[in-house]
Symmetry: C2
Subunit: 283 residues, 2 copies
Amino acid sequence: MKTQLLFGDCREKLKELPDNSIDLIITSPPYADNRSNSYGGISPDDYVEWFMPIASELKRVLKQDGTFILNIKEKVVHGERHTYVLDLILAMRKQGWFWTEEFMWHKKNSYPGKWPNRFRDSWERLLQFNKNRRFNMYQESVMVPMGDWAKSRLKNLSETDKIRDNSKVGSGFGKRIANWTEREMAYPTNVLHMATECGNKNHSAAFPESLPEWFIKLFTQINDWVLDPFMGSGTAIMVANRLGRNAIGIEIKTEYFERAKDILIDAPLRLLDKKESYDAITS
Amino acid sequence: MKTQLLFGDCREKLKELPDNSIDLIITSPPYADNRSNSYGGISPDDYVEWFMPIASELKRVLKQDGTFILNIKEKVVHGERHTYVLDLILAMRKQGWFWTEEFMWHKKNSYPGKWPNRFRDSWERLLQFNKNRRFNMYQESVMVPMGDWAKSRLKNLSETDKIRDNSKVGSGFGKRIANWTEREMAYPTNVLHMATECGNKNHSAAFPESLPEWFIKLFTQINDWVLDPFMGSGTAIMVANRLGRNAIGIEIKTEYFERAKDILIDAPLRLLDKKESYDAITS
DNA sequence: GTTCCGCATGAATCGATAG
DNA sequence: ACTATCGATTCATGCGGAA
């Protein structure tokens, strides 16, 4: 199993990857006007123009039955939602992608704040794109406990456990999923309930580990290839690694790249020889 | 207080309403390919073209500081999400609307089913449009109990009530919210958790009462005017009525119209003289 | 009166079959 | 090939009847 970390601009680094080699692309690109010191602070109006060349490369490296999961949310500009995400979806389709689905990530602990004309933004889009109508999907790997658990199953659990686990129905992870038999499991929906990991360790990741974990399990098998062209601190790559998938991460910012490298190399989960496992790290 | 029920095609009936007279429009128009025997089963490709003349009239009758809430969801066509809702948002902006916000309605009891390439669709869009960047919003009226309510307040509730009410956290209504003091309340987010009322008595509504209730409280005050141009069985109008708002409902289908009329007239909640209150009913 | 169990019912989607 | 219809799949919810 391999894990490759590439340091640099993904617009360049993606060209080094072979055609039709990736099973799952999952990424959270810099939002408009964010990370201005790395990707140059793309303005909302230029966002689509900036992203489409990257999307083109992603389409090239993705396998025919692979999947591209794009985590994105439009920001508020002059009191209204900007339309660059809508424009992006339309442009992606024009480029030949299928807009298969839009998953909803409900962020349970959204950023606090109060404004006179809007409430806290508590959800993000997880856009699913494919190269074909047919693609690999392993639904059984993300099944969740059934909903009528309340009436029968949880009688002997503690008060807080009962209440806490309730909110995980739909999509997400209960901690005791392993205890349920298959008959008591149901397929999830396209709504994911996951809290953002805020003060975890010393890095605040774009998404919690459970998010890439869900999609990696859903769209790949062991030894498949996972790509994150905007790796950040490497959450998706680390999870792919832990789940026994090959992974490629690209990051332009030195600070993020070094942190991701440290985390991945220090990870005690890999039983393989470190040298063999990470010989593809380039910096 | 008045409640007007207009029988007919809203493309015609809307013309009878005066300019700048409505505080809140909340509606759930027929989705593409649905209600084929009333509005002619609009195909997804023609949806925007069909809706925009209606949107134009809605813009005319809405007050300058009023709000338009549109409940809609795109359907799957040939294995991918159709883009007519995205196109609709872009067309609305071109018509002069502000796309202020997109609320998320998480439907816990989504339609069942299993398919090889997708999960159950469990959420719908609640698009907020405005005529200006400034509009009326009464945030305090929809505050919800704070996060630790479960540990303190629900001790003496029944088991099922506890579990049931839990799912309404985030945005929504607990039945006993009135018991909380303001100090224990927090502002909600833009995610609403509400189940559809399916097996309800003898009418199944498009949305549960708590949905229009939330928006009516948020965007109107007593004696303001609420409009639903696709009234259906009249859930939104009935709730507006109960909350002391003036309301106008338009419905083209005889069956729905009659049902709505019966429900509204039989409602024992109105203390006003029935004749005065409903003298504007036309059929 | 409670609690529990069974049953009908949805803004659905896919694939096969038929015209 | 392209459209129209139909069956199979599946689960949260509320209601009614039974213990």
